[in-house]
Symmetry: C2
Subunit: 327 residues, 2 copies
């Protein structure tokens, strides 16, 4: 007797960030039916944040008139170092968390199976599953945001390695004597091309007397500066900001070439807030530099593309995780 389609096959994907929590309700076919969003309030501590996650999950289901009983599993992408087997956030700097049993606590609240992974790994799963028709067996997801993170899918599976830290691509050194990084080293990709790196370079230059339309737009302290403001400045002809963004794109291209040389992936997909805001300004330069620096032959047929998932990457990937793990 063929199994009847179950009414409890919905999935919920959660994107846990330092400032906000997003949750999305998905069909088994990964169509997003509704979303909910709340602030993280990390300063209130892990229990309070976990309660907020549970409420956000319920809100996403409620938004679609679905009861949690109809949800098969919840996937969640968290920043930091994760132990997926035991469902623990080992360390997450921007949440102030150390060894938090997120899976177990969230399951107590929701009474549904919860699956946990690192946020960049989760986003990479999402890109592979819903964004790339070829579903490449070997791909790298790159996320340019406040920091730079990545995820690896190798031979069809998420690859996390011996210490579960594979994909810490943002701390790849590209310039041994380059600018100082938050990790303590110099010249990491993250110190050259993340949002923080771009903003730091702009602020330092302004302090040294550099003129930019950004100060006209936002005041001399650049309060509330966002990646999108850089795009606006470039479109208004601000050559200084264009140069800063071009340099970041050049370094990103070289980093992508390094990843291609090391891993020979079929696709490198670049997402994150910086790329979402500056895709048309950055991608041509990223691709040109990646092709120029890849070892001859190693980039043949390799796709180097920007992700279109935007803010949905996290919840989509988390839903993919929930689907895979609850099978």
């Amino acid at each position: 007797m063929p199994e009847a389609p179950s009414k409890s096959d919905y999935l919920i994907g959660v994107d846990l960030g330092g400032t906000k929590i997003l949750a999305g309700l998905f069909t088994p076919g990964l169509k997003c039916l509704g979303r909910a969003k709340t602030s993280t309030k990390a300063d209130r501590g892990p229990s309070a944040v976990i309660e907020r996650i549970a409420r956000c999950v319920q809100d996403a289901a409620d938004e679609c008139d679905i009861s949690l009983k109809q949800v098969r599993a919840v996937g969640i992408g968290s920043p930091g170092a994760i132990d997926p087997e035991n469902g623990r956030v080992l360390f997450a700097g921007n949440l102030g968390w150390k060894d938090v049993p997120l899976k177990r606590e969230l399951e107590k609240h929701l009474e549904i199976p919860v699956f946990l992974q690192n946020d960049c790994n989760v986003c990479t799963l999402g890109v592979q599953e819903v964004e790339l028709e070829s579903k490449p067996r070997n791909m790298v997801g790159v996320f340019l945001g406040t920091g730079i993170g990545g995820g690896l899918i190798l031979e069809g599976k998420l690859f996390t390695g011996f210490n579960r830290t594979a994909g810490e691509i943002g701390h790849m050194v590209l310039e041994v004597n380059g600018p100082k990084c938050t990790c303590g080293n110099r010249g990491c990709w993250e110190a050259l091309a993340s949002r923080s790196a771009l903003f730091r370079q702009i602020q330092e230059a302004i302090r040294d007397g550099q003129k930019t339309v950004l100060t006209e737009m936002l005041g001399s302290d650049l309060k509330d500066l966002r990646s999108g403001d850089l795009r606006k400045a470039i479109r208004q002809g601000d050559k200084f900001i264009a140069h800063i963004v071009e340099e970041a794109a050049k370094y990103t291209g070289i980093a992508v070439a390094n990843l291609i040389n090391i891993l020979s992936p079929e696709a490198v997909v670049i997402g994150g807030g910086v790329m979402d805001a500056l895709e048309s300004e950055m991608m041509p330069m990223v691709v040109a530099n990646a092709r120029e620096h890849a070892f001859p032959g190693s980039d043949k047929g390799v796709k180097i593309i920007a992700s279109k998932l935007g803010d949905d990457a996290g919840i989509t990937g988390a839903a993919v995780l929930a689907r895979r793990e609850s099978r």
Copy 2:
């Protein structure tokens, strides 16, 4: 009835290089019983070289009073881009080869199954199988010689990726405005720490008036300079050579950290002629820089060690390949 131990279970591993061919006869338990060696004579063209390989294989067997009929399979590591499935050397610059059906031609000569892989991949297999007791599921082999190459074992298997070029680690850019590399880019690891890079730096400095005991040892043109001469110079107190080697070790450490950040391996094992000659001069600095540059937590419990296989890495790994593939 238990299967009787077969008399035809010997293995032969071949290391095909630009200047010499090595072959070794191994027991099924990977003990080397004898070796043979001949010059490659690449200028005579592929057919002549393949004949020489066949003769070298026969010599290795003959050396041990074994007939080729008692040999189960031959493994061979070749430089360049390889198509292992079809047994073809797609491109090998230092042999002058383009699309050579090495497996098929060698099987015609020997009438034994032949298995082909890239030389650095083969050496990595050898290190994993016979050198590391823990047989790590995730490891990187690094080979510092005339150039710098690598091999990846991920989840227990040789990983070659989409274009079969994974492990081209020598062309990882570490210094965007660094010295020119043979690949056309600047600041590749290979341009900073390979034997060619070391020799180039030394020769340039001598031209600029730098004094070194190497010129006393070998004459001002440094004819026949070898990696071992650098060790001798350092042991005679040559601070200039010590500095050149230290810089190469520093860059190598940073490159190892990049590999650890990206791949989270359990072990990074470094071999090749430069490391064989300069292990005690380089390794402490390599390890210190790798640990300093690895992202916190990602190098926990990770072994960073020098290979002890020396010249035997290639033939040993090739025998491992023959054993795995002929099972």
